[in-house]
Amino acid sequence: MKNKRQRYCIVGVGNTAYGRTPGLSQTALNVLAIRAALEDAGLTTKDLHGVLTKAPTSTFPRLWAPQIAEALRVQPNIVGTLDQAGATNIGLIQYAISCIELGQGEVVAIAYGDNPRTGTRENYARARGGDGAVAGLFGTPSSYALAARRRMHEYGSTKTQLAHVAMTHRHHASLNPNAVYQTPITIDDYMNARWVAEPFGLLDCCPVSDGGAAYIVTTEARAKELKKAPIYLRGIGQSHPSWEFFRRPDLAASGAAESGRLCFASAGMSTADVDFCEIYDCFTIVPIITLEEYGFVPRGKGGAFYQDGHTRLGGKLPCNTSGGLLSETGMPGTQLVCEAVRQLRGECGVRQVKNPTVGLVSQQGGILTTHATMLLSVEGGQLQ
């Protein structure tokens, strides 16, 4: 297994407007994002060997990647839709580089686009599983709130700490002209927001948003011929706690510890090498759990790390520099990959992290059910 691998890069990123995009179908949001990413890379649809997708959460259509390929008017060697919810955004990169490593393609587009805000959002308020409805458990926030309550009980996380996750990411969104929610929030705004499912109020929850985002993966050799400096894929890993959230042994644990371990090992790096993080912050508790499980801070200290300002731009470890799911767009995570690439390129203007070398992207899905981690860098290197 220790043969010399190729080096892999993300060479293009693209996205649509976020929030409400009336008139744009799920297909359009995918196609427009992929075309923007190709343009960003200096490529065209003729260069594509693969089209990979995360299925739209709101409808989960079948044979989705082939439909997007058709709408791009390409007939690729590689198509696929991976069923890992939010972790899919990174899982698809593992699929893409596996195909490239086999020599069966060189340029792969990965995309997500959905319109749950202007289309149907029934999937976001449905009952949980078979007995969920009669137990009164509806909607994704309720399930995450059960995990949050347990986490707060075990590690002493407080509402004030959750508030600082929401406030920090909103502060970053206030510096991002494409963010859906740009108005800064205070601790009073957070505490006075209406309850959704205690311990969560409205500002603990990401909004339901329309939009599309995409990125292009290729080899270093190809990347060097293209428009912009390549951003190298240096580490990648997955781990899936998998069980229905309320039955797994530890409700308040995610897959970040194990997927992070694999990712850092494949990069030959440690947390000390990371300049910023883009974390799947569908709810405020998640970045706290994630930072602790990666080992950036000891267990139980993630909330204080936020409250002390270390995750703000200018702090020790800026997190969710575009506003994240909580404030940029509630889309399930593809946009975080775009932001990490743009930060490493130095394209982020007033919200730019100072001279970053390494960025971490954390993605998870379900109710802490799936997890994937990726390390990106401006410096070349191969996966170990």
Partner: protein
Amino acid sequence: MNTISTLNFEGFGELFPEITGLTQPFWDGLAQGEVRLQKCAACGTHQYPAESFCYACGAQAMSWVKVAGEGTVYSFIVVHQVYHKLFKAFMPYTVAIVQMDEGPRMLSAMLGLQKPIAIGDRVKPCIRVVDNERAFLTYVPVNQ
């Protein structure tokens, strides 16, 4: 174990999952006022939800047994957002994950609570009757 029918659960039938041959004994048990779980004859593990095999050891040796079903609150939320019209009358209401003494964790509504609950509280089953054929499992504090 108590069976309470003072609260009105008219219409709650539409919230029930599709009942199959595999799950029928659980729901029949509730309709008859008792909590039933599957138990593995090979390893003794109680399990829920129902399957044709044991999640713990894989043996196809499951049978249904009546259990006390008491447990402790593992986590809970208080729901304020109206997701379904049938729960409007109970707002805000509590949903708990109950760690049953027998092993499985159950997801359960806790309705009509006199005071807030906490993680670790002891709770007991309270079967709610919808009509002559249907009932569902909720929990109430042991000391209520």
